[in-house]
Symmetry: D2
Subunit: 327 residues, 4 copies
């Protein structure tokens, strides 16, 4: 097995709090192990454009607490072409990079897997996305921080909702994943939660609202994942308003502030452990795998498995609990 001398690290896809902490851990672990580190800007785009920076311990000072990613991120269509990937490979080869750590989500991992196979370059992947929708880790980087951001928003909305006896439809992120909706919904004490994985009919929602009214709750907060079948919050609000005309209904789309913010302690530590593990695994000859948290341990999963399998991240029991807490 060839000794690794220069690791290229990059972030790709949607940014998530904790990515900087992961970059920091990759850089400091590698340097501690006398391996050089090259920062690749804007993910695959930066590879194709040879947008590189040599990193040292100082390059990652005081970034552990920063949201976003200092290496930037970008979508890159060109990398989907053989020519694009060839260009990328020529660049990293020319720069002496002989291994990669990719931080991102599904698309990032798919590209890394393909690239690694085509050019036989070792790669380890770190799951970074607030959606928590990746196989191989109980929690993805940024998910915990996003949940905290959402419950803080719900707490604020609850203040005004209960002052005015209003019904709020709060849309949270999650095109295909209800993780934030369910967890932040339970954490925020929502009266109802709509998410893609669970087919909550509108009539069911009507029931929840009637029940809450019958208990003359001073306010109601309905959390809706953006990917829910009933459409976004605006749509659901409209349907409800048509039936419950007397209700004072408001809509709140939390949007991209869910992606930012200083990472939580949980995400900072998780990112640090994942970055450390990714480098160690590369040194041990592991490749085409993701690092992840299982219980309290950092484990690895072959990319092939991680990309082919899906895990239902919504705790069945928590779904039942959510229904009981507000009944």
């Amino acid at each position: 097995m060839k000794k690794i001398t220069n690791i290229g690290v990059f972030t790709s896809g949607g940014d998530a709090p904790g990515m900087n902490a992961a970059i920091r851990a990759v850089v400091r672990t590698a340097i501690y192990e006398n391996i050089q580190v090259t920062g690749i800007y804007r993910g695959y785009q930066g590879m194709i454009e040879a947008d590189f920076v040599d990193m040292n311990r100082r390059s990652v000072s005081s970034i552990i607490q920063k949201g976003g990613t200092v290496l930037k991120s970008a979508r890159c269509l060109e990398f989907k072409t053989k020519e694009g990937r060839q260009q990328a490979y020529d660049n990293i080869k020319a720069h002496g990079i002989d291994a990669l750590v990719a931080i991102g989500g599904d698309g990032t991992f798919t590209g890394a897997d393909l690239f690694s196979k085509e050019f036989d370059i070792p790669v380890m992947c770190i799951p970074g996305t607030i959606d928590n929708d990746l196989y191989g880790s109980d929690y993805t980087l940024g998910y915990d921080t996003a949940n905290n951001t959402v419950i803080e928003a719900i707490d604020k909305i609850r203040d005004t909702a209960s002052s005015h006896s209003r019904v709020f439809f709060v849309e949270v992120m999650g095109r295909d994943s209800g993780c934030i909706a369910l967890n932040a919904g339970v954490g925020g004490g929502a009266e109802a939660i709509l998410m893609p994985e669970v087919d909550t009919g509108i009539t069911e929602l009507f029931g929840e609202l009637e029940l809450a009214e019958s208990r003359n709750k001073s306010s109601m907060i309905v959390i809706i994942a953006e990917g829910d079948q009933n459409g976004g919050a605006y749509n659901v609000a409209k349907i409800v308003k048509d039936k419950f005309d007397h209700l004072d209904i408001k809509v709140s789309i939390l949007g991209h502030l869910q992606r930012g913010g200083s990472p939580s302690s949980f995400d900072r530590v998780l990112a640090t452990r994942m970055g450390f593990k990714a480098v160690k695994e590369l040194m041990n000859g592991n490749s085409r795998a993701t690092v992840g948290l299982r219980g309290t341990a950092i484990v690895t999963t072959p990319l092939e498995e991680a990309l082919s399998k899906k895990e239902f991240k919504l705790d069945e029991e928590l779904l039942a609990i959510a229904n009981i807490m507000n009944k």
Copy 2:
């Protein structure tokens, strides 16, 4: 002048952080002065329904840090009728209330003024609204807290915006007031700010964006007050997208979370001073006036003056500064 024996306190109109701190101050000051205090729920609606509660020091324990209003708030059309007001008066008279402290905005003050004249009952008004759009006080209750909420949101959005080189159109509250937009825009380091009071043409905005691009800023954040002439953030985003098709544009509507949250130190202290002053003024025979902050002093302004005059709350100099900071 008749000695006051029972003060009725209520909140009306949109809630704002600091209202609870003001209620607490009214209650504790009055009781300290051996005056009874009656809490009136849901503003004028509660007056008409005689929805009262006798308050003591304990009724306001641990509410100084709470957003919203423990006395609730509501719109009340009935109070606009002579019959409604007569009913309200009969109720407060029956309950022994001989003076009022009204906490709220424009509409609240108008009703208080009319009611006070019709039934010759002393009333003092406390300006509580995040919009800071009232005459007679440099700052209204909740405005400082709302500004902090907005810059925290902008800071989070900036994380993700700069990671992706995106342009964000962030809509903040302010139907007729650009106070939050301007202050939070300057505080958040926005690239451009659109507000009702200033007629920023779209072409001007185009210029700002071109300039920012020419400086290849990694991200741009445009703050838009909901009441801006160019329409809300969605509308402006659409217009800009038509002209700058290459830009990666996102929209964020902060919405009602701006109304909630634990009040800032500034708002807690201001509310406490205003509540104290309102009671003292009633004791001194003052009526039909608002309390407000001028410089570092708490002053009063006759309701007639407060309701008839408008003050341009946007510091002219700050408008100029906003344009320089990002040029």
Copy 3:
């Protein structure tokens, strides 16, 4: 097995964020299952004084986001006596309480175990302490929130430390546990971490400081668990000052603010799941057990086992990582 009709719930020992969320979950789950719930104030003291309150769904409205415990907590020497426990039993019997949910730490569990055996009353325990020093759960209630509180404090201290090139000795809670010190230390990017479980000699610390100096770091932050062998932060600071007289050294004792604050999303959801589980287990005839989080599942552990066993909660790997991140 006797059907349970009335569950007494109480908090005891040091309070922790998430206790209210757990109380809420116990109450709402029990009522949903047609079981009455009695709130017992001030833990065992309240049992002895029959300081009870019948709880309904409304009793726990809007407490999920509150720090501390609405049922209060207290130390109780009297409960260590047979007479005290007899009195407590007579009271709960008289009130119709036929099962208990105890929320707290080591001492709370010991008392619950003894009480349950003596009077053959079913009891389930929920681990609530910021120290994360209990066997049977990967995380205890309040630990995640405390970690966030500490890293926020460290981030603030870092601002001023780096502005002045200062060395800070920050003391965090943990008499016998270094969990907060290690996790918040890693999360806060501390230059060194001292904790009870790891015998870091002062000379070793000197080495760390010399190394950091040799890298002319603009600032250094040393985290010290209150229970560390080298004594608290003041003591360590004095020893270091004697050797490194040129350093600008400051001490910060974070103290009890670590115990308070609105619980994190993680703690709110964990508390809700634990409270639900505790009631379900009592219904299923389980007793003398603790509920806990293992991986992503809520499990139970016999009290006997939980009280006799110790688990080393400091991830060995994380200890190594901590040393690498700042080298």
Copy 4:
């Protein structure tokens, strides 16, 4: 009057949130006016060591939200000597700096005044200190942020205090100034407040505590400015414990976290206005003056006046209010 071509900006003395926002405003305003800006590191020390950096718009990107100061700060004894100042002058002259903006407190202003007179170099001062103890401005930079930091800490301490019916003695910053103690004390709903400017005898404090006890308050929080005559919190706690042995007393020294943190909206806007004004005044030939906030206007005060006069920043009325709120 000589046209200014190169402004040297520096921070000195204790750092305060908002200093970075002020630096940013100075840099961007000057560049907008085609004036060069030189950053001087570590205040007067950097002047003597010619530790300079040429600044452009980009040098101050994304620092408006950062606590501390990117230009660092330091104490400098050498500057108190004629030789030191001569060296400093030779350096700035050699670098082409022909005007200065000094951001800091009393000591910083004194040095600036002396230096400006000795070498006839124009200087404007910006009041940056969390203590709010400078003449010429209603608020100093960082004061508002510090107040928010302190009330957040008090809110957290209140959670645990009320859960355990404890008495907390919380020490806040302010060697000669009770501004933070009074404002945060009122904002945090403290039962008693001790500050240097007000001679509150211990017996008076005993009275407050007895009163609070007589009302069987579930908890008591006493705020103590570090400069209070009765000594720090530890000392006062000891004295109280001797008399009220039955009380469960805890001490919390908030310490340096009060100096850090992201500046509040109020401080960011104030800093931006002050930085803008300082440059404008230099351009208009003004010198040896401080900028400050009076009401809603940014004004200037001659350094001579600012340094000779003292203003009692504790609002007399607020002192009375503090006593009423908890009686």
